[in-house]
Amino acid sequence: MSTRNKLLKKLKNISVPSVSKPDIPTFEQSLPITAVREQFVQQLKAVGANVQLITTTQEQVQWIEALVGQSSYIDTLASDHSFLPLSEVENYQWVILQGHIGVAENGAIWVDDNSLPTRALTAICEKMIIVLPQSLIVQNMHLAYEMVCKKQYGYGVFIAGPSKTADIEQTLVKGAHGACELTVIIDISQ
């Protein structure tokens, strides 16, 4: 018998009293979207991200230009980069990504491979910009998963701030492996 079948048989023979699965509330509070956004911004700052609020596409472009300057960048919002060979991705300093969900309680933003030419873009560039419309900000993780479950993806990740470590004497250092810097641009007109 295979290890699989042996193990499954063994598990079936262990009698564990049945325990029912609890219902999970969403713990949603009645709050105006501005309050939810405010908490999101606070949490983003707490997890080490920079935040920029904008109201027009033009403003968005201006901010991105200002941030990126003369550096090389991959703008996943702008065009199709599926031709980009992996070996080259590493040479770009900036990456601009589309966020699909923002979570107010912890500053996490959902990014998935629907808008990623290559998956490693979530951790390979030195600096990262994520663009997110205000309407996609939810209060907490329970509400976030209500949105995730409707998505089709092969790879998805909640990113909360720049990559970090505190493995040397508990001293926080930004930029362990992924982005050393993260700016979140929130479009509050949407």
Partner: protein
């Protein structure tokens, strides 16, 4: 049979450097404090703990079913699923996959399971280059040490020690122990490894039966970099890591990082559902003693553990004895209830490395009654004839003595006199241990019983 580890001796050794103990204790207590202030911000914190505990208990009550469902969904997603009965089979599966893909260089992210299986040692022997990419793991790998904590692997090392280690192994500047400098140096060194790796090995925090996806949580992004660059991704998980539904992640991700480090969530919570085009994801489901633990009614709930490490940060013993004193893959309170299930003789001292203060159970995000299980392991060890020691004999005599009032009373009186007059007689070595750093209580003029009898006598007279 393996030799028993001696936690008391290891702890005493750790305490030979009192300043280091102070430093270690403070570093971990600080993490505990961060956890407290983070949890305080969540009104429904205690409700979340209850939910998490119930979800895990429910899953364990139908573990086989959920594993089958997970396998089915994962296969549909294009993830290849393997099953391993023990560490050896797990390591063989990994090796076969690496051979098939002609892999010589592997990047690894943190996985307590591969520590448990001693995968690194196994792969070194096969001539495969394995690089741990989590900074803490990398530090202990370079130092040729096991991790001393499941979330903070190098918490036992000072920045100076890391600076010296990096100088020796990565040629950083001598005497520079600035954490930012050292982290950047490691980033540069590891970036090279990431780009040249043929395969990635990661752990798994949660595997969702409903969707066939698995979630890995990191702060550094080493999983997202490691697993998404090479063509082969091998994820290794214990069978207890499966959870029923995706929405359950909402509960666990709210608890995990807050309990672990006080962060509201880890920087990266990465969901792997399907391999990208032209690549392979393999997932290995490992038993390695978990089904036995499931079969032990009293210790079953130890499998609910989500490896946050909060019980270690909170444990007054762990903080003052260091993770290495446990000589187990998982140290601290949770390790002390998991390890005896793997090797009772070897780890028979670990359930005694506790005052049963219960802080571990109160801090645990999935409400494992750790201190109760420590107590229960002690009873099993006490009854185990193969572990019969001088202590067993003493305790048997003690039981006889305490059970017979007149004998107990007589011995107690004698003992009290002995404390004053004949410290070496009757008083065994353990009493000497008491007196080493503490005064023995002064003997009062009368016992409470004597007082009470006299007092009753007076009242009657009145």
């Amino acid at each position: 049979m393996s030799n028993s580890i001696n936690h008391a001796r290891n702890a005493a050794q750790f305490n030979q450097d009192p300043q280091k103990v102070t430093w270690h204790d403070k570093a971990l207590w600080h993490v505990r404090e961060k956890r407290d202030s983070s949890a305080q911000q969540i009104q429904e914190w205690e409700t979340l703990r209850t939910l998490a505990s119930q979800i895990k208990a429910h899953t364990l009550s139908q573990l086989g079913d959920y594993l089958e469902l997970f396998e089915k969904q994962a296969l549909q997603n294009g993830i290849r699923v393997h099953w391993a009965a023990d560490a050896q089979e797990h390591n063989q599966i990994v090796y076969r996959l690496l051979q098939k893909h002609q892999v010589s260089k592997v990047v690894k992210s943190k996985s307590m399971l591969t520590e448990e299986c001693q995968l690194n040692t196994f792969l070194y022997q096969k001539g495969i280059q394995v690089t741990d990419t989590d900074l803490g793991e990398r530090i202990v790998q370079l130092a040729k040490e096991p991790p001393s904590h499941i979330v903070l692997p190098a918490i036992h090392k000072t920045r100076e020690e890391v600076g010296e280690l990096f100088h020796r192994t990565m040629q950083t500047e001598a005497g520079n122990s600035d954490p930012t400098y050292l982290t950047k140096a490691a980033r540069k060194d590891l970036r090279e490894k990431f780009l040249n790796a043929d395969a990635a090995i990661t752990g798994v925090n949660f595997a969702v039966a409903e969707t066939g996806e698995f979630v890995v949580c990191t702060n550094e992004g080493n999983v997202d970099l490691g697993a998404n660059l090479p063509n082969l991704h091998i994820a290794c998980m214990g069978i207890e890591k499966v959870i029923p539904e995706q929405k359950d992640l909402g509960v666990f991700l709210r608890l995990l990082a807050r309990s672990a480090t006080g962060q509201p969530i880890t920087t990266f919570s990465s969901h792997f559902k399907k391999p990208s085009k032209g690549r392979e994801i393999h997932l290995i489901l490992v038993d390695n003693g978990r089904s036995e633990q499931l079969n032990r009614e009293d210790f079953r709930s130890s499998l609910q553990c989500i490896r946050c490490g909060a019980c270690m940060n909170t444990c007054p013993i762990y903080r003052r004895s260091g993770g290495h004193s446990y000589e187990a893959t998982i140290p601290g309170p949770i390790g002390a209830i998991l390890s005896p299930g793997k090797d009772l003789k070897k780890y028979s001292q670990l359930p005694f490395a506790s005052t049963l203060c219960g802080a571990c159970s109160a801090v645990c995000p999935v409400k494992i009654d750790i201190d109760t299980q420590l107590y229960k392991w002690r009873q099993i060890i006490g009854k185990d004839k193969s572990l019969f020691t001088k202590k067993t004999l003493m305790m048997k005599i003690g039981g006889k003595m305490l059970g017979d009032y007149s004998l107990y009373h007589f011995t107690a009186q004698l003992g009290k006199r002995a404390l004053r007059l004949l410290p070496s007689w009757l008083i065994n070595n353990h009493f000497n241990a008491w007196g080493k750093s503490r005064e023995i209580p002064e003997v009062p003029v009368q016992t409470f019983s004597t007082w009470f009898k006299n007092q009753q006598h007076h009242e009657h007279k009145k």
